[in-house]
């Protein structure tokens, strides 16, 4: 952060010319290019859109006669479906997790904090595949049981992190806020949430990572995700599909993880 200020200040305070603006843009671009999220994301996007063109040339890696191009869906479609499923489920999970954490840290719900904690720990011992499979008889095959498992597993890290974050706000800060006349809602929104944000965001990061992984397994119950080529490749003895699916889903997960990591860095650091 400090370095950014150092580089940009002289330019914006001095007499501005087109060349200077150009240099600043280039410097920003150079700084961006050094962040892993940019190049991992670039490789991910290039492979997503280039896989269909690249796949026919990968024959030398696999036994002769292996089908190389995955035809059930195109890779951009798979990525979009995977992202939509994970994104929608994560939004629901984050909303539910934050709501539960808020409830458990307010005076009315504080008695239930330990219970929620305990339920979360209990639910986390259930294997994701088992929960996915158990959801099938009642929800059918496809995206629905996957979304159910995604929300269930996504809530827990957000709830845990939200509770940890909100209860880590020092009592002195809360008293100071009350003393300066904040309403309970105002105190929550302008004092507690910003202070809890770094821990909460770490929980969101875990939750989304777990979500991407669970969505991948969701293709065993018929959801269309990047896990589909892996599962089809494993059951059809086609290493080419397995490789394409694995590489893309791994890059996808790492890109999203790094992107949330960037958001964490962008938050103001809490003095300790």
């Amino acid at each position: 952060m400090a370095r950014a200020v150092f580089w940009t200040l002289p330019i914006w305070s001095g007499h501005e010319t087109a060349a200077m603006r150009m240099m600043s843009v280039m410097r920003t671009a150079g700084r961006l290019a050094r962040r892993p999220v940019v190049w991992v994301g670039a490789v991910f996007l290039a492979l997503t859109f280039g896989m269909d063109g690249l796949a026919p040339h990968l024959g030398f890696l696999f036994p002769a006669g292996t089908r190389l191009v995955y035809t059930r869906a195109s890779f951009p479609e798979l990525v979009a479906s995977h992202a939509l499923l994970t994104g929608a489920a994560s939004l629901i999970a984050i909303a539910m997790g934050v709501a539960a954490a808020l409830f458990a840290t307010r005076p009315a719900g504080r008695a239930y904090a330990a219970t929620l904690d305990r339920l979360g720990a209990l639910a986390q011992t259930f294997p994701p595949v088992a929960v996915l499979a158990l959801a099938v008889p009642s929800l059918g095959y496809g995206a629905l049981p996957t979304a159910f498992a995604l929300v269930l597993y996504g809530v827990l890290p957000v709830m845990g992190a939200g509770m940890a974050g909100l209860s880590s706000v020092p009592a002195a800060v809360l008293e100071a806020a009350d003393g300066s006349g904040f309403s309970p809602a105002g105190r929550l929104w302008r004092i507690e949430m910003p202070l809890a944000a770094p821990i909460l965001l770490a929980g969101v990061r875990t939750s989304v990572t777990i979500g991407i992984g669970t969505a991948t397994i969701g293709s065993t119950v018929g959801a269309l995700t990047l896990g589909s080529p892996i599962i089809d490749g494993l059951s059809g003895d086609n290493p080419a599909f397995v490789l394409q699916g694995t590489v893309l889903v791994a890059l996808f997960a790492v890109t999203v993880d790094l992107a949330i990591g960037e958001a964490q860095r962008a938050l103001p650091q809490r003095p300790n």
Partner: protein
């Protein structure tokens, strides 16, 4: 850190708050589910979907009344927090509820099979499962909140014993789940053993390698950052992808060095599964070891040095005992995680309980899926409970 504020004092004993809300809530939910959902589902054969039978139709007035009576007892007990052994009694009542519900379902299955022939399948319905899970939650809640160690263990052990006796008595043999088991008894035992082997080997790998990495990170704090960042990337990769990712390189490797195959190294099968499980366990183990050791105050280590302890003695007598709670927690969380992940091993030809889940999903045979999934869940719960018990036993004396 994770301990939310307001957890320390027992709020239930406060004046005015004379209700234990959670047991009340859970038993009310179980009651609603029992009245709305089917207790068992009767299907003409293994693959067709069946018609639900309510608790009243399935278990008759006597059975229904006794289940409802137990729910009532739990509600009454929950309303009396001052009662001695209240938690233990709630736990025992919850265990009775679970055992009785299962016994009633088993009896219904036997009656239906006798009346409608061998092909009829009686599986457990939504009402039963809600009741059973409610019993499990009540049991876990009572064990968690009871402070006395014998009081924690008694309801759990009694329930396990009751369930075991019920299964051994053969009264459940006509349930669809039991019949799926009966036709593949030997295969079930083999895959269960295989599941335990995979988990155990993966855990051993993770403990050795992860422990070494954690120790290294503790000794050389400057290297800790990059090491954990690298391990974090492994953890970020979806588990299915990690299992499948190893197939390619290992196939190429064994293609180049065929001698490796005689060592059991292959692209598919147990070897890549164990490797993937070990890789997944690396980060939690390394982070746990690092956190546990780092939490030991420097002054303690310096005092030990000052007393003339050797390095080995410091590790044995100060570092490990003081880091023990964190280390045991790490062991428990890693083991539970690996038991769940080992289900995926079936997809790369390594066997384990996942075999039944994926077979069942392929055949749309819900009870075969259930057989695999419930076994995996039971295994994870038993491992979790056993290690919690071990932790309590090893940390008998208060630490500070």
């Amino acid at each position: 850190m994770r301990r939310p504020a307001g957890r320390e004092p027992a709020p239930a004993r406060r004046a005015g708050a004379n209700l234990d809300v959670l047991p009340l809530l859970i038993s009310a939910l179980a009651l609603v589910a029992l009245l709305l959902g089917g207790f068992v589902v009767v299907a003409p054969n293994r693959l067709l979907s069946g018609t639900p039978l309510s608790l009243w139709q399935a278990a008759g007035p006597g059975g229904a009344a006794s289940l409802l009576a137990i729910l009532g007892v739990i509600a009454l007990l929950a309303a009396r927090p001052a009662l001695r052994f209240q938690r233990v009694l709630i736990g025992l009542a919850a265990g009775t509820l679970m055992v009785l519900a299962l016994a009633l379902a088993g009896m219904t299955a036997s009656e239906q099979a006798a009346a409608a022939g061998r092909l009829t399948r009686v599986s457990l319905g939504a009402g039963f499962w809600t009741l059973f899970v409610a019993g499990l939650l009540l049991l876990a809640d009572s064990a968690e909140r009871e402070t006395h160690r014998a009081g924690k263990a008694l309801p759990l052990l009694a329930t396990l014993l009751g369930l075991a006796a019920l299964i051994a008595s053969g009264r459940l043999a006509q349930l669809s789940l039991a019949r799926e088991y009966a036709v593949r008894q030997q295969a079930y035992l083999d895959e269960m053993l295989r599941h335990l082997q995979l988990t155990g080997s993966g855990l051993a790998l993770a403990l050795v390698a992860g422990g070494a990495i954690g120790l290294l990170a503790y000794r050389r704090p400057r290297r800790a950052g990059p090491v954990f960042a690298a391990l974090n990337i492994v953890q970020t990769i979806p588990s299915l992808a990690l299992f499948a990712l190893l197939i390619g390189p290992l196939t190429v490797l064994t293609g180049l060095f065929p001698a490796l195959r005689s060592l059991g190294i292959a692209g598919i099968g147990p070897f890549p599964a164990i490797l993937a499980l070990g890789l997944y366990g690396l980060l939690p183990v390394a982070r746990g070891v690092h956190a546990g050791l780092s939490a030991v105050p420097n002054t303690v280590v310096e005092a030990a040095l000052g007393m003339g302890m050797t390095r080995g003695q410091i590790v044995r007598h100060t570092l490990i005992p003081l880091a023990l709670p964190t280390l045991l927690q790490t062991l428990r969380l890693t083991l539970v995680q690996l038991i769940g992940l080992a289900v995926l091993a079936a997809l790369i030809g390594a066997g384990g309980l996942g075999t039944f889940i994926f077979q069942g999903l392929g055949q749309t045979a819900a009870d075969l899926v259930l057989l695999g999934a419930l076994s995996a869940i039971a295994l994870a719960l038993i491992a979790d409970t056993a290690l919690r018990g071990l932790t309590l036993f090893l940390l008998r004396r208060p630490q500070n």
